[in-house]
């Protein structure tokens, strides 16, 4: 029996996974530590553009000016020719002291930036810096700036969220590699015609597939499931790998596969950064649309309601999708003896199952 969603009291909020043909997405792009935001609110950005950065490594020199000039610290400070934040080139004078007819000088041993001088006239010179950068990740507009952490990017298009990504971002044209969502991709499926594409397949169990994709300069790979044997290879390849459903020979969910396989030739951005469970930001793929009419807002969670399409998170029977029959959870003992708060779900096969609410994800 299908029940109307409006008539029922909503149940507890559960995470929602967005798989939408037309969605408006706000995506927070946040640095691991505070840093510099490099774009302004309202600006249009492309996925590869650096929007914020923070120093990761500093290489510094501490120069003892007093010792170099052979004078007390107070006198050495008076001899300084630079101030904090000054940029200096190799050979620039940092301190200079006239003594009789001669001059004593301390020069910059390398190009760098003066970061400060302490009471003992020791000068801190930063001579190298490496940055952690974050990119926009999606083609869109800067909706908000969150100083000094990063930005929120607003983007619109077809949107698919996943569960795992290998940390990379790229874009390319979509190309299905398997005709069924339940089929694994084989090395033989990949020919020269796939050069430079973003491939879509049911799942992947062979690390050689990833090596072959690398040879073909793939711009991305989207699969339902990826086995442990492939994960290490996926971390090594130079293109983004997005897993939509789970680990192991897990087929891609029907909605995602239908959306992706019907979009052959369309441009897609694959933002395969790891799922940030603190921010609720999942790895995702976004297909550009030529004309946006009315996009639905993608959200991270919503209350359980009867009639919703849900994905059942079960490691030993992955990929099951069904319809929620009730929104009010009850305590019950599962067949394996574990006591849990459960809801009833009718699988697409027609089977009725009892599922712990913590094993439910709403498919939007």
């Amino acid at each position: 029996m299908t029940q109307s969603t409006q008539e029922l009291t909503p149940g507890p909020a559960r995470p929602a996974v967005n798989i939408a043909p037309l969605a408006s997405v706000e995506r927070e792009r946040r640095l691991p530590r505070p840093g510099q935001v490099r774009v302004a609110e309202g600006r249009e950005v492309t996925f590869a553009e650096v929007v914020a950065a923070t120093p990761r490594k500093h290489r510094i020199l501490i120069l003892d000016i007093a010792r170099a000039l052979d004078v007390p610290p107070q006198k050495a400070r008076q001899a300084l020719r630079v101030r904090a934040k000054d940029r200096v080139e190799k050979g620039d004078i940092l301190a200079e002291l006239r003594r009789g007819l001669t001059r004593r000088r301390v020069v910059a041993p390398q190009r760098g930036r003066v970061m400060g001088v302490d009471a003992q006239a020791r000068l801190l010179l930063r001579v190298g810096i490496e940055w952690d950068e974050i990119r926009a990740g999606l083609n869109g507009r800067v909706a908000r700036v969150i100083e000094p952490w990063g930005v929120v990017i607003r983007a619109e298009g077809s949107y698919i969220e996943g569960v795992w990504g290998n940390g990379l971002v790229a874009a390319g044209l979509l190309r299905p590699l398997t005709s069924r969502r339940t089929a694994p991709v084989d090395e033989e499926d990949l020919g020269l015609e796939h050069r430079g594409v973003v491939g879509v397949a049911g799942y992947c169990v062979e690390p050689r597939v990833l090596a072959r994709a690398e040879d073909l300069s793939f711009r991305g790979l989207i699969v339902g499931g990826l086995t442990h044997a492939c994960l290490e290879q996926a971390r090594r390849v130079s293109f983004p790998v997005l897993v939509t459903d789970g680990f192991g020979p897990v087929p891609m969910n029907e909605d995602a596969f239908r959306l992706l396989s019907s979009a052959e030739g369309r441009s897609v951005v694959v933002l395969a950064e790891p799922w940030d469970q603190d921010l609720g930001a999942r790895p995702c793929a976004m297909l550009d649309l030529p004309h946006i009419t009315q996009a639905e807002r993608a959200i991270g969670g919503e209350p359980l309601l009867a009639g919703q399409t849900v994905r059942i998170l079960n490691a030993t029977k992955p990929g099951q999708v069904g319809t929620l029959l009730s929104s009010n959870p009850r305590w019950a003992r599962l067949a394996n003896g574990i006591k849990a708060l459960v809801v009833d779900v009718r699988l697409r096969t027609g089977q009725h199952v009892v599922v712990p609410i913590v094993n439910i994800e709403i498919l939007r």
Partner: protein, 583 residues
């Protein structure tokens, strides 16, 4: 003691874990405090809700429904204190373990003195000690500044120098912090906790105070022979609470709701573990383990010298440090009773990734339970290595964590513990079935009677007393390694000839006592020395006395099929007979 049963207060205790939030209700029943009910809801500190208070409220609603009492008023506010009609609660306490570990840098003079003491300040808390600086550090000043800056600490513990003692090393570390301040942006600057030479306190405050939030605490090492950790630990905890509350929405509200009776779960757990240690093995050793989703806590050792550690790994999100390590994957595979998961191409390793990215999920079938218990075994082995070591004797084990407390049967929980911890000798095992150890630890500060009486109730019925003999070399499979007699107080006896490689169970119901007499074969040690007989009084428990003669270290069979059969045989061997259940 601040409270008594005469007051018969009603207590609500909230535990905000990384996966679930639980609400416990304690009230007097026939003159004794009892756990009335436990409500539970997913923790909501993270997305989509991002407010820990919401999960707490849902857990309280669940508790209301289960206990059939009114705790919330019409507006959803908690009724405090109890009304004349018995609605509401009198006192609320709480613990929390959801949140990322804080990054800590330790600075001290000598590794074995001030640095060791500074490390002990943070021991057990949810922290990651990312860098240590000592006076004997061989790195150049430039290298030290780079290390400090790149450590990006949340808190720096600056210790060193006995009172009126070393000054130079402390001053050098202050210099280091002053250099670093020129490279960190303002919002990146850590808190400084100074707990070193008190003669330098004012100078440290003066030099660092303009750039950092500085907290002064009494010296952790006032003299070489003295250690004073408590005040510095309290100061550290204050800073910790501020930082965690700032990062985790809703924690500040919970702090207010509990009127400050809100601490880290790990501290509550350690406190209860020490209490139970006194109860079960005052002269022996203890190992208390809380295997959580994000963190694992252990308290171990003797009563007069307990150790307390928390590691940032566990059975959910806490698998992150392990999922990329092949040795861990190999260990899980070597212990798993099945080879394939989720189809013919799936592997046990896939399950590790699954659990790491879906920490809230419960196993939905027998295979899922097998795999979770396998992961627990491997993580418990890590705990064993870091605490009692291989072949370590332990007299009392307190075990907590969802995989154990929610195990489908007590036999499964015990077998997971035996395989993981592999205790040697005679051990009393207690499981925290209601997962309330940490909140009871906090309640102990409010009303010790609650803890005494709840620990003595059915909620903490011991799981088993285990006896695990050890021997060197090979023993004949058909020759007993020990003769065991359990003499009950009513004069009856049960005997068993212990064959190597077996598990045997001798019933001893909860509340009963008996004398255990063990006569080992030559060279076999049952806890009194090789070949020496053992005679001990033992208490009753759910499973009675379990004799684990599989040897130490015990490793599972090499094929998954044989491992599955071995696990089934082991579970059958310690099964409770139907007639016992009736009795």
């Amino acid at each position: 003691m601040q409270g008594s049963l005469v007051e018969t207060d009603v207590y609500l205790a909230l535990d905000v874990g990384s996966a679930f939030t639980r609400a416990f209700l304690f009230d007097g029943v026939e003159g004794q405090y009892r756990l009335i009910a436990v409500g539970q809801a997913p923790t909501t500190a993270g997305p989509p809700v991002r407010d820990a208070l919401v999960g707490a409220e849902q857990a309280i609603v669940d508790l209301q429904n289960l206990a059939g009492v009114h705790l919330l008023d019409e507006d959803g506010g908690l009724i405090v204190p109890t009304s004349s009609t018995g609605e509401g609660v009198d006192t609320v306490v709480g613990t929390v373990s959801c949140g990322r570990p804080l990054r800590v840098v330790v600075m001290g003079v000598l590794p074995e003195l001030s640095v060791a003491s500074a490390r002990r300040i943070v021991a057990g808390a949810y922290v990651d000690v990312v860098e240590v600086f000592t006076a004997t550090d061989a790195a150049t000043p430039e290298e030290q500044v780079e290390r400090l800056v790149e450590a990006y600490p949340d808190i720096v513990i600056l210790a060193g120098g006995t009172d009126q003692g070393a000054r130079h090393a402390v001053a050098a570390h202050v210099d280091l912090l002053l250099w670093a301040v020129r490279l960190w942006p303002l919002v990146q600057r850590p808190w400084i906790l100074f707990a070193g030479n008190q003669a330098l306190g004012e100078a440290v405050q003066k030099r660092l105070g303009a750039h950092y939030e500085v907290r002064l605490a009494p010296n952790v090492r006032p003299s070489i022979t003295q250690e004073n950790l408590t005040p510095a630990r309290e100061a550290f905890l204050d800073i910790f609470r501020l930082l965690w509350a700032a990062r985790t929405p809703g924690l500040e509200d919970l702090h207010l709701l509990t009127r400050g009776r809100f601490t880290l779960s790990t501290y509550g757990f350690a406190r209860l573990a020490r209490y139970m240690h006194r109860l079960y093995a005052p002269r022996g050793t203890m190992l208390a383990v809380d295997l959580g989703a994000a963190y694992t806590t252990a308290v171990w050792g003797r009563l007069d010298s307990p150790r307390h550690e928390t590691w940032p790994w566990g059975l959910g999100r806490g698998l992150a440090p392990w999922e990329g390590r092949q040795d861990f994957i190999d260990a899980v595979t070597a212990w798993a009773p099945l080879e394939r998961v989720g189809g013919k191409e799936g592997s046990v390793a896939d399950f590790v990734h699954w659990k790491r990215w879906h920490p809230h999920t419960l196993p939905m079938d027998e295979a899922g339970v097998d795999l979770e218990e396998t992961l627990a075994r491997v993580l418990l082995q890590q705990v064993r290595q870091r605490t009692i070591g291989r072949g370590g004797r332990v007299d009392f084990v307190l075990a907590a964590g969802g995989v154990l407390s929610s195990a489908p049967t007590p036999q499964r929980a015990l077998l997971t513990l035996l395989d993981g911890l592999q205790p040697v000798g005679l051990t009393t095992v207690v499981v925290d079935y209601a997962q309330m150890a940490s909140v009871l630890g906090v309640l102990a500060e409010v009303n010790e009677y609650v803890v005494v009486q709840v620990v003595g109730s059915a909620a903490f019925t011991p799981l088993a007393t285990t006896l695990a003999p050890v021997w060197r070399g090979r023993v004949a499979a058909d020759r007993p390694i020990a003769e065991v007699t359990l003499a009950y107080s009513n004069g009856e006896e049960t005997t068993a000839s212990l064959l190597p490689g077996t598990l045997t169970r001798l019933p001893l119901a909860p509340g009963r006592r008996a004398e255990l007499r063990v006569q080992p074969a030559r060279g076999v040690d049952v806890g009194a020395g090789p070949g020496e007989p053992l005679r001990r009084d033992v208490i009753g428990s759910l499973l009675g006395v379990v004799l684990d003669a599989r040897g130490r270290p015990w490793t599972p069979p090499t094929t998954a099929g044989e491992r599955a059969r071995s696990r089934t045989r082991a579970l059958q061997a310690i099964q409770i007979a139907p007639q016992e259940k009736v009795a």
